[in-house]
């Protein structure tokens, strides 16, 4: 690529690979943690809702780089020496869970109240109502914004540079340090991020539109 050696180019591509891996871990972890949090936000008990909301607000009020540092050095203080990937992944998980929980709360709420009542009339237990009636509909509503948020996750893995984790942004910095071609290097890094993110953004919008249409038609 332009003035870069093959080795340097490969190094950047490898960084892109780590970015994708970190994004996927953050997303999966965030989903596993985010779903119970979303249920907590929509729970019947007010105490549960408030407690969940408080925790989410705390995480959302901390910048991701600080979250990464806190996880990394916190583990150090507790006597662990975590690999940077693990610390970054844990921070990404907490961050993703907080935002996904809020997104999904909206989606669960968007399932019409009547559906709950109809399920009640069928004498389903509340767990069955959730599992068989509400969640399948909520998942459909949630798909476009969740994919949209995945784009945010991918972009925000760039904050793992603060831990010197070898993802795309950090790799680009290193290549820049020994090639001294910042314009080329960061343009390429930006283009790689764009290649990962843009198709997802587009997919998210397309799903949203087609979903909007079926909803219109159902009226």
């Amino acid at each position: 690529m332009l003035n870069l050696t093959t080795q340097q180019s490969l190094f950047i591509l490898q960084g892109a690979g780590w970015t994708i891996l970190l994004s996927l871990i953050g997303f999966v972890g965030g989903s596993l943690l985010g779903l119970p949090l979303a249920l907590g936000l929509t729970a019947k008990s007010m105490a549960t809702r408030l407690a969940t909301g408080f925790g989410i607000n705390v995480v959302q009020g901390i910048p991701l780089p600080i979250l990464m540092f806190a996880v990394y050095f916190g583990a150090g203080l507790a006597g662990f020496d975590p690999p940077t990937l693990a610390a970054a992944a844990l921070a990404m998980t907490a961050y993703s869970a907080a935002f996904l929980a809020e997104i999904w709360k909206g989606c669960i709420r968007a399932v019409p109240r009547l559906q709950w009542e109809a399920a009640d009339c069928l004498a389903l237990t509340s767990l069955d109502t959730l599992r068989l009636v509400i969640l399948p509909q909520a998942v459909r509503i949630a798909t476009p914004p969740t994919i949209g948020f995945f784009v945010q996750i991918v972009k925000n893995t760039s904050y793992a540079v603060v831990l010197a984790f070898m993802e795309l942004t950090y790799s680009a910095r290193i290549v820049n340090n020994n090639s001294n071609e910042p314009f080329v290097v960061f343009t390429i890094a930006g283009a790689l991020y764009f290649l990962i993110c843009f198709p997802l953004s587009k997919l998210s919008r397309r799903l949203e539109r087609s979903f909007g249409k079926t909803r219109e038609a159902a009226k």
Binding site: F69, F73, K155, T169
Partner: protein, 227 residues
Amino acid sequence: MAGELDFGFLSDYWPAIAWGVVWTFVMTVASLIPGAAFGVLCALARVYGSPTIARIAAVYVEVIRNTPSLIQAFWLFFGLASLGLRLSPFMAAVLALSINFAAYVGEIIRAGLEATPHGEIEAADCLGLSPLQRITAIELPQAIERVFPALVGQSILMMLSTSIMYQISAEELTGVAWYIQSFTFRSFEIYMIVAALYIGMTGLMRAALSSVGLLVFTRYRRLRTPL
């Protein structure tokens, strides 16, 4: 090597931390204002612009929203310098944050503009208002009102993302924390304190922007409808 928490360094370093808070605030405000203005222009370009102008605005929004702000900052700070345009770290940070904020604000306000009821547009036209008068008096104020909570949320996200700008050595709170921990080695403690400060600033900013909303959108204040 499980350690104990030690906040003793605070007595020496609290002025530096306060300095960091001030600079985070300055950087946020310096990016917020031009970013919001440019975002409004972006939205107007996409909704009312000629096909070419709308297209240019759309490309801008897509490129910015699908690349990390840190890469944009590196590109502006290191990349442009290698081409001979040397920005100060603070300038590069503010520029990166503004163009980022603008792209998101543009999309949010565009959604607000597109929700204008057709009847109001017709009514404004029928009163003889020019398109520009109609947009400034009827469509834009209501669009901003409609999406104000989303704008507050986006502003807070922007404030939080100032924290990465120490990577191009712009002065702000996270940079100060990094500097302190390199002297004191009390990394976890300092980041705990800084995290608490950011949470406080987030709450403060939400309260401040919501008050601005209540001041500007008199209808909400009068009718006590929540923003």
